[in-house]
Amino acid sequence: MKVQLTTAVLVAEDDSRQRDFFVGILRHLGFTHIDHAPNGQRALALFREHEYGLVFLDIEMPNLNGIEALHHMFEHRPETNIVMVSAHSTVDNVKTAIKEGAKGFIVKPYSIAKVEGVLKKVLGV
């Protein structure tokens, strides 16, 4: 799967290596417009300035965690596609994210298959 994806994507992840890797995967998959933020606060600021078709939020982040960021973003644009990311795949985490309105849930480590699955579901590609 390698297509030109015009959707603007925002990635919020505090670990810079993980972030780079994830952005790398998204590039590999064909996304060209990818913004990234090291914490929830920064992600929210970017979110207010740009219109993203897809947002990935790490749950465990300093300065506004993923769930808190999700609440603010939904207040701003409730129709946004938000996918939660976490290193912890506990079912409770997953259930909470889905209940809060997340369109998907990715458990780290990132992999192409995981991202592809979410994209299939969220963007239909």
């Binding site: 993980q18 079912v91 998907g104 458990v107 780290k108 979410v118």
Partner: protein
């Protein structure tokens, strides 16, 4: 006689005093009147009856005393007074139906006579004698009422009531008798009873019985209800219930006969008896069936247990163990077949079998059936020939599962009962009738003509010894026949004992006008059986198995190992979700019923999370709704337990085709220059990170140590260095647990892993 005495002596004076005293004792009233009707004498009884005294009536006109009025209250003149008529010579009055009036104005019925008194040749008045007949009238009235009641009862009775006189002739015939027998009373009365109402062939017997009855009052019929045949004017014969009671009339023995037409009752009884017999027969058949079934179920179970035990026995040789396992499998399959058949049949019986009508590829169906049966036929050295008779519709509208079930059953029977030769499966079509016909012909033992009729009946088997010898539940044909009906057709059989059998199954194929008709086998045909279940391909990819039952875990593991698959087993839905999200799998085998979280729930949650790994549901519950719920939750397919190995293997092969597993997809990623760049970056960063960790450990800077370990874990995982990621995770966990004294081991391991990664 007092009247005579009066007649002769009463008027004469002188000697009359004694007579008059005598008259006073008389019970009857006696009154003497003169020529003018004036009372000259009244005895005590007369005065008493009239409510007077003798001295108060004497001298009064008789008419005014006794006839002042008629009973209806109208007056009567003296001229027409009936008593006075006796004042004429030679007129004797005898009246039995009159009333006299009492002094108090009440009436009473009387019987009286008035006789002229002839003294010396000339008329000298009259003597009236009377008596009160109230009581007799009362009795007569009661009698009349009683007779009327009896008559009404007899006339309105629902039974024919006859009375029969001493000569055996009919003396009474009520209206119901007319209705039942069709003779009017005029036609019936006076006729010999045995000739009128009994059929000719029974007459002599009844006549003899009647003669004996009339002679000694008993012929075993008195006070009993007898059921006999009767006939009426129309000649129709019908059953009646008859009871006779004797009565004496003028010294002779008579009978009343009560006769009831019991045609309806009798037919109701017969119906009831028939229903009862049928119910008993059905119950007996079911009991026999159950007894047979429990035997059929016990037999394979005994074998399974016995062979199972022999496997545990140390002294059993390996060859014997293999045989034992084979027997266990064989018997297990047989047991499953029996249970499936029983369930199918009970569903059909309860009319709860679900059928779906979808397009079925005709040739694919034949190929599939042929492929499945070929091995069975080959095992007995039989030839199985599948012959399409052109033209055939490309598809027919039917239920593929049920249709296949019928054909497999017919073929497996044919193979079972044939020792050598060929089995044919023919398919032909009658397009105008929208009907496709499948025929299975064998050269087997055949079926006796007298067994053919009951061949398709539930709970009856051609011969239970057949079941013993050839196995099977004996329900296959019953089920097939019912299924054929549900598919809009029927199953027929022709057979000749010793020559073979022909089973013809017609099914409704839906509208065939719009379906292409094939006139020959398409080019590059699939050859039946070439994709046989014996050759299981090796599959590639990672499989997650979620199954709580340890035996099933073992079984699935064994199957997957034989396919060379790489798999992980978890035992509930929660772990399945966590594991499926945390790692990449190419396929998930998900049991439906599991603790913590069901397979359906887990599937749903995975799909909501954006996980698109194909999920194969596994369930022992064949209910259609459950299968649909599983599919609705997001499972690609649902397989039934117990697992049918060829289907299992084929399905897995479909989802894990060689060359497209996620490993390979990742490999593709690994070739991406961008990825290589990132990987190199990580490997360059790694030694510094490890140095940082050592320093942090030396300075007890646990936060830094934990964060570095955490970062290493994440990135190592991303770049496929799983051993390194694991070592980093161990280190992180140890720090988090505060076991600072135990950190040396994990850190050393991490360094070793780092060197391995660097070398690579």
């Amino acid at each position: 006689m007092p009247v005579d005495a009066i007649h002769t002596h009463a008027p004469s004076a002188g000697s009359t005093a004694r007579n008059r005293d005598l008259l006073d004792y008389l019970g009857e009233g006696v009154i003497c009147i003169d020529k003018l009707g004036v009372i000259t004498y009244a005895n005590g009884a007369a005065a008493g009856m009239l409510g007077e005294r003798p001295d108060t009536v004497r001298g009064r006109l008789l008419h005014t005393v006794i006839y002042s009025m008629l009973p209806d209250g109208s007056s009567v003149s003296e001229e027409v007074c009936p008593v006075y008529a006796a004042l004429q010579p030679d007129r004797e009055i005898l009246n039995q139906d009159e009333v006299f009036w009492r002094a108090d104005g009440t009436v009473f019925p009387v019987e009286y006579s008035a006789v002229p008194m002839d003294v010396g040749g000339h008329n000298d008045g009259a003597v009236v004698t009377f008596r009160d007949v109230s009581e007799r009238k009362e009795v007569e009235l009661l009698l009349r009422e009683s007779e009327e009641k009896t008559r009404l009862i007899i006339e309105n009775a629902l039974d024919a009531i006859l009375s029969i006189d001493a000569d055996g002739l009919i003396a009474g015939w009520n209206s119901q008798a007319t209705r039942i027998f069709g003779y009017t009373p005029e036609q019936a009365l006076g006729k010999p009873v045995h000739e009128l109402i009994f059929p000719l062939r029974h007459r002599n017997g009844y006549h003899r019985g009647l003669a004996k009855l009339l002679a000694d009052g008993d012929a075993g019929v008195i006070e009993r209800r007898l059921r006999v045949r009767a006939s009426g004017a129309s000649g129709r014969e019908f059953p009646v219930e008859i009871s006779m009671t004797p009565f004496r009339s003028r010294g002779a023995l008579n009978f009343s006969a009560f006769i009831r037409d019991i045609t309806e009752q009798r037919s109701a009884e017969l119906n009831l008896r028939r229903a009862k017999e049928e119910a008993e027969a059905a119950s007996l058949a079911k009991s026999e069936f159950l007894a047979n079934m429990s035997h059929e179920i016990r037999t394979p179970l005994t074998a399974i247990i016995g062979f199972g035990e022999s496997l545990l026995d140390e002294s059993t040789s390996d060859a014997d163990k293999r045989d034992a396992v084979r027997s266990v499998i064989q018997n297990g399959k047989h047991l499953l077949a029996i249970i499936n058949d029983i369930l199918d049949l009970s569903k059909i019986e309860a009319d709860r079998l679900e059928v779906e009508f979808i397009a079925v590829n005709t040739l694919d169906l034949l190929d599939a059936v042929g492929g499945l049966m070929e091995r069975q036929a080959a095992a007995k050295d039989l030839e199985l020939r599948i012959v399409p008779i052109w033209p055939l519709p490309q598809t027919l509208q039917s239920d593929p599962t049920r249709l296949r079930q019928i054909l497999l059953n017919l073929l497996s029977n044919a193979i079972k009962f044939t020792e050598k030769g060929t089995i044919w499966l023919l398919a032909s079509c009658e397009p105008s009738a929208n009907c496709v016909q499948f025929s299975v012909v064998d050269q087997g033992i055949g079926i006796a003509a007298d067994k053919l009729d009951s061949l398709f009946d539930a709970f009856t088997q051609a011969d239970t010894s057949t079941t013993r010898k050839y196995g099977g539940t004996g329900l296959g044909l019953t089920i097939s026949s019912r299924l054929a009906k549900r598919l809009g057709g029927e199953l027929q059989v022709e057979s000749l004992l010793g020559s073979g059998s022909l089973f013809i199954c017609n099914v409704d194929a839906g509208h065939l006008e719009s379906v292409p008709m094939l006139t020959e086998k398409p080019v590059a045909p699939k050859t039946a059986g070439s994709d046989g279940p014996s050759k299981s391909k090796r599959i590639k990819g990672r499989i997650l198995v979620a199954e709580d039952n340890p035996s099933n875990q073992k079984l699935v593991s064994m199957y997957l190992k034989r396919l060379g698959a790489n798999f992980v087993v978890v035992e509930n839905g929660v772990l399945a979700v966590e594991e499926a999200l945390a790692n990449d799998y190419d396929l998930i085998l998900m049991d439906m019923q599991m603790p913590e979280m069901s397979g359906i729930e887990a599937t749903e949650l995975l799909r909501m999370s954006g996980n698109v790994t194909p999920i194969l549901g596994l369930t022992a519950n064949a209910m259609k709704v459950d299968l649909e719920r599983f599919r609705d939750a997001g499972a690609e397919e649902v397989l039934l337990k117990p697992i049918d190995l060829p289907i299992f293997n084929a399905t897995l092969a479909r989802y894990l085709p060689e060359g497209s597993s996620k490993e390979q997809e990742n490999a593709q990623l690994h070739d991406d220059p961008l990825y290589r760049q990132l990987q190199q970056d990580f490997l360059r960063w790694l030694p510094g990170a490890i140095g940082g960790m050592e320093e942090a450990m030396a300075t007890s800077n646990w936060g830094t140590l934990r964060d570095l370990a955490h970062q290493t874990k994440g990135s190592a995982g991303n770049f496929g260095f799983s051993a390194l990621a694991q070592a980093a995770a161990d280190l992180e966990d140890t720090v988090r647990a505060g076991r600072y004294k135990d950190l040396t081991g994990p850190l050393t391991l991490l360094k070793t892993r780092q060197q391995q990664v660097s070398i690579r």
